[in-house]
């Protein structure tokens, strides 16, 4: 035990029997189980933990809590660890941040001497010329950026999430919070109690004998109650609309489990029992090592048995300050003076020692007295952490007599405040208030009408903010002088001053510095404190890791029943929305040739499929498609295009009539969900009188397209009950039958690839069976699988457009060459008003292009230009055609260039150009479609 560890304290949380070793900036150190990183270091004599952001002044403990701005350290590969909160673990490698070359000697401290020039916002006034040097200036400035190191090799880690539905969520486990939780649970509510610190108890933990006794009574009852779940070392990070509350759980998780867990809680009632945060005083030297708040001294002495100094001056404006002085004496620390701020005495200046680690060595009081001391303890004010209440819509009010903000009006019925955040009182009074709020919370959660809870009174407290110029925002190194200067320059409102000086924009986000900022601002601007208000409190209340917010990273994928087969046969995967599909199996051009010459099989399961039943289906089809459907006979299939109400093409597909009142509609894979919703929209909101049922069957069927001259011969071997001859089963017809022993398979003849083809829709659980059967029975026919890439080549050879590739968000049907499909005779259908007005000469046209040079394949999206650089269109689809041995393209071009035979100029990626001819029709191969109709 070093000279900095005190004898046993009644409320200490350290385990003197368990020593832990760790390193600090490479130096071996020891601490005890139960220590925080900072308490262990202080027990080892360390006083300086960081250097300030801008001026690189040495910094020591200020609050000794999670929010201590000076105690942020790097632990292993984790940056920005709150050293005064994080429990020490053996083997930790702890380093200070933002100190170069070392904590003890920091070259950047030269900034200190430049302080008068480097006022807040100085960079707006300089580095303007010479302009080209700004990147160099920037690199220098960014060297001063604070913060730890994010390693590129850090593992992602495992984080998960949890939902909770509770009656009452209590934020804060001090006396009022514990009492509220007990009262609510006793009244029958399910309670979740969340406490930021490592243990329940709040300020009772470092209090006197009476406080410890109250803690010993309350805490076990809370922990034992079956309806209270307690989460220590966890924080309520945000309260969102409708009491959707984020809780970050940092501890109490399984050893091999998640690093952190995010709870998403829907609470009927939220009780905010966040207590009070002690507020620093602004004076010259207030950021020197050795200047700390009363609560910091009490925590360190009473919880961790740390000797915080040898000779102290205490500035006290309240009972907590007096108790701090008593604790110092009880720890054997010489208290040279207790400066009673209630009697009008103040501190004016803390004087630092020599050398780069210079901590306090003397204190100058307001009356001029100078006292030698290495510790200055200040207890001059409290701030109510009203963030969660503010997130709920509350407008805090400034209580000038108590010198702090208090909860105001605007709270919804589902949010209550309890304890110190509301007012002051003895421990018994805080507990009583917590009880009453907890009971009311339980009542409201059970549906009772809200009734107000008598608040705690707030006794007067001296309004102490600043006695001389000093640091207001410790994280951002903003001094009161900076704020005064900002006001003088016109940045005289809370928001403008904050943005200009960056006060409250650091990791503490205003908890320690907002009130002082407003006070200095009010004084400088000659405005009323209350009138200036505050800046808005935003979530999260405490910083939350990206890992916890992201959770397990669950991104679902969809695969067809034949996926395993594809993988086993060398598929190269294509990510198509949620679907993983085979792009090809090694040689897409060969696959395409196989389809043209023999027979190929493609898995098209992702195709959107909707079953439509009812007598009014033709009316629905006539409404959503641009063409006519009334005459579709049973057993027939038709191609359709869907436009939105503004006439823009948004999906296409084929729909077949399977029976009198039974149809199957197909859509694009990516459009399936949108089309389904579109149909429901028409049926529910425009024509509720139509009798149509829509059932999505995209994943109910495995869809297989068998294409090529030999496709019929192959299917004849497997299909029962259907005559596959051209006479009996013509192009654009649909049949139902048995395939490979599987009943209720649908088959239709359509022609995306331009070859004789049959598209099978097989009940999904038999998809793999049928797929394998096709290969087994087609081996002698040369059957081979083909993927999406081969299909793209084949359809492009046939000039079939792909919605979203050959059309875009502005393409109306006429532009897509689909004008012939539009049936304006239909009185009403989606898109009709705009389509009726569309003229062929108004918008770009879809045309087929053939590059003049045989081996030029212009990349998709290549621009078509006239007059050198004026853009007149673009290539939308482009491939080398294995069938023709030359490139085939589709393009959108201005109407003036769309006449067949026109030669257009395409810009290639290297800046060169290629010429191409507009073809008379979109299909490059078999334009008459003879091969389809055999």
């Amino acid at each position: 035990m070093t000279g900095y560890r005190l004898p046993e304290r009644p409320g200490e949380v350290i385990d003197r029997g368990t020593a832990l070793t760790f390193t600090w900036n490479g130096r071996p150190c020891t601490g005890l189980a139960g220590d925080t990183i900072v308490s262990a270091l202080m027990a080892g004599g360390v006083r300086v933990f960081s250097r300030s952001f801008k001026y690189h002044r040495p910094r020591g403990v200020l609050t000794a809590s999670f929010h201590d701005p000076n105690c942020t350290v790097q632990v292993d590969d984790e940056p920005n660890v709150r050293g005064a909160h994080r429990l020490l673990a053996g083997g930790m490698s702890v380093c200070s941040q933002n100190t170069w070359p070392s904590l003890r000697f920091d070259v950047k401290a030269a900034n200190r001497f430049a302080g008068r020039f480097l006022t807040a916002g100085f960079y707006y006034k300089t580095f303007i010329h010479p302009q080209p040097l700004w990147p160099a200036y920037e690199r220098v400035l960014s060297r001063f950026a604070s913060g730890g190191v994010a390693s590129p090799h850090a593992g992602h880690g495992y984080y998960d999430k949890r939902y909770a539905h509770v009656d009452v969520l209590v934020a804060g486990g001090g006396p009022a919070g514990m009492a509220a939780a007990l009262a609510a649970a006793e009244a029958g509510a399910d309670v979740l109690l969340v406490e930021e610190e490592q243990h329940l108890g709040g300020h009772l933990r470092w209090g006197g004998a009476a406080d410890l006794a109250a803690l010993a009574d309350l805490r076990p009852r809370v922990l034992a109650h079956p309806r209270i779940e307690v989460l220590p070392d966890s924080v309520v990070a945000g309260r969102y609309d409708d009491n959707w509350i984020a809780v970050l759980q940092r501890r109490g998780l399984p050893a091999a489990g998640p690093v952190e867990r995010l709870l998403k809680v829907r609470a009927a009632v939220l009780v905010v029992a966040a207590g009070l945060i002690e507020r620093p005083l602004v004076f010259e030297g207030n950021d020197l090592p050795g200047v700390m708040l009363g609560t910091a001294a009490r925590r360190l002495i009473n919880l961790y048995a740390v000797r915080v100094g040898s000779r102290a001056v205490v500035v006290s404006a309240n009972p907590e300050g007096d108790a701090a002085a008593a604790d110092l004496r009880a720890a054997g620390i010489d208290v040279a003076a207790v400066v009673d701020a209630r009697a009008g005495r103040t501190v004016r200046r803390a004087v630092g020692g020599r050398g780069p680690e210079g901590g306090v060595r003397a204190v100058e009081l307001g009356d001029g007295t100078r006292i030698e001391a290495d510790l200055l303890v200040v207890s001059t004010g409290w701030t109510a952490p009203t963030s969660l209440l503010s997130m709920a819509g509350e407008r805090a009010v400034w209580d000038a007599a108590a010198a702090r903000f208090a909860p105001g009006d605007g709270l919804p019925d589902g949010v209550l405040a309890a304890g110190g955040i509301v007012g002051d009182g003895s421990t018994a009074e805080l507990i009583d208030h917590g009880h009453r709020v907890g009971a009311e919370a339980a009542a409201r959660s059970a549906g009772a009408a809200p009734s107000p809870v008598e608040p705690l009174r707030r006794p007067p407290h001296p309004a102490l903010f600043r006695t001389s110029h000093g640091i207001v925002d410790f994280c951002e190194d903003v001094s009161s002088k900076d704020i005064v200067a900002a006001v003088a320059e016109g940045y005289d409102g809370a928001e403008l001053a904050k943005r200009f000086t960056t006060a409250t924009m650091g990791p503490t986000q205003g908890k320690l510095e907002l009130v002082n900022t407003i006070a200095v601002l009010a004084e400088a601007a000659g405005r009323d404190f209350a009138e200036l208000g505050t800046t808005t409190w935003r979530p999260p209340y405490a910083p939350v890791s990206l890992g916890a917010l992201g959770g397990r990273g669950f991104e679902p994928t969809r695969v067809s029943p034949m996926h395993g087969w594809h993988q086993a046969h060398g598929m190269v995967p294509l990510v198509a929305g949620q679907w993983i599909r085979p792009d090809h199996y090694g040689d897409p051009e060969q696959e395409a040739r196989g389809v043209r010459e023999r027979v190929g099989i493609i898995d098209v399961t992702p195709l959107g499929k909707l079953e439509l039943r009812g007598p009014d289906v033709p009316k629905l089809l006539d409404t959503v498609y641009i063409n006519s459907w009334g005459s579709l006979a049973v057993g027939s299939v038709r191609y359709g295009v869907m436009c939105a109400e503004d006439g823009v093409v948004f999906d296409d597909g084929v729909t077949g009539r399977l029976g009198e009142e039974r149809y199957l509609m197909t859509t694009t894979s990516s459009g399936a969900a949108a089309v389904w919703e579109w149909l429901e929209n028409w049926l529910q909101t425009v024509h509720p009188e139509w009798r149509v049922h829509v059932v999505p069957v995209t994943t109910g069927y495995a869809s297989i397209n068998v294409a090529g001259p030999a496709s019929r011969r192959l299917l004849e071997r497997l299909v029962e009950g259907v005559d596959l001859s051209n006479e009996a089963f013509g192009y654009m017809r649909v049949r139902t039958g048995r395939v490979a022993g599987v009943d209720d398979c649908l088959m239709w003849r359509i022609g995306f690839t331009g070859e004789l083809s049959f598209e099978l829709h097989v009940p999904a659980s038999y998809g793999l069976h049928v797929w394998e059967a096709l290969f087994e029975h087609g081996a002698d026919l040369g059957v081979a699988p083909f993927g999406v890439e081969a299909q793209r080549i084949l359809r492009l050879e046939k000039g079939h457009l792909i919605v979203g590739q050959d059309t875009d968000g502005l393409t109306r049907a006429v532009s897509a060459g689909l004008g012939g499909l539009v049936r304006l005779a239909k009185p009403d259908f989606a898109g009709r008003p705009e389509l009726a007005r569309s003229r062929a000469d108004e918008a770009p046209h879809l045309v087929a292009l053939q590059p003049i040079e045989q081996d030029v394949v212009p990349p998709e999206a290549s621009q078509i230009v006239t007059g050198g650089r004026r853009i007149a269109g673009r290539v939308t689809s482009s491939r080398m055609s294995p069938t023709l041995g030359r490139a085939v393209c589709l393009a959108q071009v201005e109407p003036g260039l769309s006449a067949p035979g026109t030669v257009v100029t395409i810009v290639l990626p290297d800046g060169g150009t290629a010429e191409a001819t507009v073809m008379p029709q979109l299909a490059h191969v078999d334009p008459e479609g003879a091969r389809l109709r055999v």
Binding site: D77, E78, N80, F122, Y123, Y124, K125, F127, I128, H129, Q131, W134, E138, S142, A145, S146, G147, A150, P152, H156, G157, Y159, Y240, Y491, G493, E495, L496, R499, F500, P507, Q509, P539, P540, P543, V544, S545, L546, G547, A548, L549, G550, G551, G553, E555, V575, A576, G804, D808, G809, L810, R837, P859, E860, A861, Q863, V865, R869, R874, P909, G911
Partner: protein
């Protein structure tokens, strides 16, 4: 060294430079105000509603380019308190259509020289801009943009995963991820800027030339008579004026309704978030369309994130949990090693969305009531060029060619702008 007061009430603002910084530091003399607070006059030649970058730039260019200084800029809050103070401050000109590219490129050109022109360091960091492509459809759109950009002499090119990794080493470019990076649109002239500095620089410049900036002044009504603007009623008094310029975001329809003008605008919140600072490791701006996320790192070391607008319209800037959850999930998809970085704060601004991802600029059916609205999620980067163009419109009465495609009348004519073309494959 104060500022000189000239007879016409204008001042040359105190000059900012390293030398004056030194001199004032040595003499401990305070800097003069960047802008004054004025009494509201009973009339102005021009009233601009909205003291964001668009309104302030319009006021500045009215004064500087056209000598029109009897101008009031009104804001119900503080300077730059709306979208101009809440955006993620990304600048680029790598748009899809030739008109879009020309427009945003003009803005970028103005931004380049803005610090010198305003004598206010706006900290434009041209660190390069990467738009990642995770699908072949997206890659195709990137090529489309690159080709259009190149034809307009704007530096953009499509690069592959290895080059992406070289520019942003923390990105996971392996194929093991759910959304593999197939390539990216790389736009070297793009970057980030200090948005507040732009607002303040324009405000200071306009104020020095006699423009009155009225903060905490809410517009309550606009009186229209005989088909033209007559008066603006505010919380501090009424102003007679023949010209009102609506430069608001989030409140565009509220203000336009006062003048009896309907707009095809729906207001959605756009949320953003920032992490704690860490040492610099991300030196370009990274955007992913498929993952709906963009990220950059400020000189202070914080990562700034943005994503898409909220899925339903509202005027709430309170933020949501699902936003930061989804955002974090997608950022970690791209950069899995930064899971321990902590989010410090989230906020939101209001975006006015139009049917074709393009703004609405120019005249309306009410004479004298002009609009510069509908800026969606891309308003800040267009501040300078919009201010310049609207100033020209006010001064000359003629709509500049650069903004002609953005006329309000295009909706009635069914002639929506081409940026909508890429909407289906990610903007």
């Amino acid at each position: 060294m104060g500022s000189e007061r000239r007879g016409d009430g204008r001042r040359r603002p105190a000059r900012y430079s390293a030398l004056t910084l030194l001199r004032r530091g040595l003499t401990a003399s305070p800097w003069p105000r960047s802008w004054q607070a004025h009494e509201l006059k009973p009339s102005y030649d021009v009233v601009i509603v909205g003291a964001g970058v668009h309104g302030l730039a319009a006021a500045y260019y009215l004064a500087v380019n056209h000598g029109i200084t009897d101008v009031a800029v009104l804001d119900k809050g503080y300077i730059g308190g709306g979208g101009s103070g809440r955006n993620t401050a990304i600048l680029r000109s790598n748009y899809l259509t030739p008109e879009g590219v020309r427009f945003y490129q003009r803005s970028l050109t103005l931004y380049q020289d803005l610090a010198a022109q305003l004598n206010f360091n706006v900290m434009f960091s041209r660190r390069g801009h990467l738009t990642l492509a995770h699908t072949d459809a997206s890659l195709r759109t990137m090529r489309w943009r690159a080709e259009v950009n190149k034809l307009q002499h704007v530096d953009s090119e499509v690069i592959g995963p290895e080059e992406v990794k070289r520019l942003a080493p923390y990105l996971d470019v392996t194929s093991r991820v759910r959304y593999p990076i197939l390539g990216a649109l790389y736009h070297p002239p793009g970057g980030i800027i200090r948005h507040d500095a732009v607002n303040w620089g324009y405000a200071r410049g306009a104020d020095a030339r006699g423009v009155h900036i009225h903060q905490d002044t809410e517009v309550l009504g606009i009186d229209v008579g005989a088909g033209r603007v007559q008066r603006v009623r505010t919380s501090r008094g009424d102003i007679a004026t023949p010209v009102v310029l609506n430069c608001t975001a989030g409140w565009a329809t509220t203000i336009a309704d006062m003048a009896g003008v309907g707009l095809p605008i729906i207001t959605h919140p756009l949320q953003a978030a920032v992490t704690e600072p860490v040492k610099m490791f991300l030196h370009t701006v990274v955007v992913s369309g498929s993952l709906h996320v963009y990220v950059s790192q400020t000189d202070r070391g914080e990562l700034v994130f943005g994503a898409s607008v909220d899925p339903y319209p509202s005027y709430s800037t309170r933020g949501s949990l699902e936003f930061i959850e989804e955002l974090a999930g997608h950022v970690l998809e791209l950069m899995p090693s930064i899971a321990r970085l902590r989010l410090l704060r989230q906020w939101a601004g209001l975006c006015d969305m139009t049917p074709d991802y393009s703004p609405i600029m120019g005249v309306t059916p009410v004479d004298g009531f002009l609009v510069d609205v509908g800026w969606g999620t891309y308003g800040f980067k267009a501040g300078p060029v919009s201010g310049e163009a609207m100033a020209e419109l006010v001064a000359t009465g003629k709509t500049p060619e650069l903004i002609a495609p953005f006329a309000l009348s295009r909706f009635g004519a069914g002639a929506l702008v081409g940026e909508k073309g890429a909407a289906s494959v990610g903007h």
